[in-house]
Amino acid sequence: MHKGFIRGISAVLIGLWSAMLFSETEGVFDEYRAMLGDDNPAIFVIFDGEEIWFTPAGPKSASLEQCDLGLGPGVVEGAYAQLPRYFADVDRVQDVEARLEHCMTQLQGLTPAEVHGKPYSLRGDLGTELEALVAWIADQSSGLAIAPMQAHAKERATYELGERLFYYRAGPHDFSCATCHEQGGRRIRLQTLPNLTTYQGAAEAYSSWPAYRISQGIVRTMGWRMRDCMRQQRMPELVMGSEATVALQTYLAVNGAGAPMAAPGLKR
């Protein structure tokens, strides 16, 4: 038989075999999730977050009970699902982390440096207060439809900005978010990449963060995920609650609007 023909058939078979192994790997993780059922180690982080919210802290010895996440001071249920949104008291659109920073500095008297000092866990850490707070706040929106506010002009402008940032190519590798997340059916090594320009992909991504990251043993937030993507894109460090991270999260949330929140999720 012609060598090229054999090569061709072999290539097709290898492709099929790999695809099968790949989908088995995917399937294995789904089975794992099914086995855990409602269980998620994040439950403990959620408890911590709730406790932190009600515990006085900072120079003003105040808790976060008066923090307005968009539905009024102290209203946490349903708030995450409507973020990012415009806040008149700061005249800008904020995500949950920017809003928590605002509350920590205004209500508790912490300095921005203290808030930004270490928002996210480093390797080997057991979780930060911010991660716990976001886990609890997101859990209070579990099951509710993703519905970021888009009524205010600044909210819509933030979406447009997010879309532009999504396609912004830079750095030594010329990466943008779109490099990995603009097409369907793609993966990097064996990690599937959701197409974030579509409802399906954006919903899948936005609804499942924050998430308990099994490999790290802690809860990671969407803000952290954005920062870590930027790191992998060979960009500098994305500041928590900054305009760019809020814009990118808005882009995702609006694209995935309508899908139910399922956070904290469970990830590898």
Binding site: L36, D39, P41, I43, F44, F47, L126, I214, G217
Partner: protein, 103 residues
């Protein structure tokens, strides 16, 4: 080095559901560090769930259980206010425990 276990025990239908999260590296002994030397095995071998000091679950773990294990078990016969305890011992002889009351 005793280590804390976070536990929750809740009554559901006709059983008590226990969830526990423990910190442990669960090192298999197969991994190598930067210099190429094997990282010593360090994993939980023995774990028990006790209800009012009676062992209701006895498990023998090994290197295949992943780091920071999350344990979920159910047992019958628990009542609100009863004490549930989880105790582990690893291959170095270290142990950890935690307890809670059933809600």
């Amino acid at each position: 080095m005793a280590s804390r276990i976070r536990i929750r025990a809740q009554l559901k239908d006709d059983y008590c559901e226990v969830k526990a999260l423990m910190r442990h590296p669960m090192e298999t002994g197969m991994r190598k560090d930067q210099s190429g030397a094997a990282i010593p095995a360090n994993f939980i071998e023995d774990i028990q769930v006790l209800h009012n000091d009676v062992v209701v679950v006895q498990a023998y773990w090994g290197a295949a259980v992943s780091a920071n294990p999350f344990l979920g078990v159910r047992f019958k016969g628990g009542a609100q206010g009863d004490v549930v305890k989880v105790v582990w011992r690893d291959n170095h002889g270290d142990s950890g425990s935690g307890e809670t009351t059933i809600r």
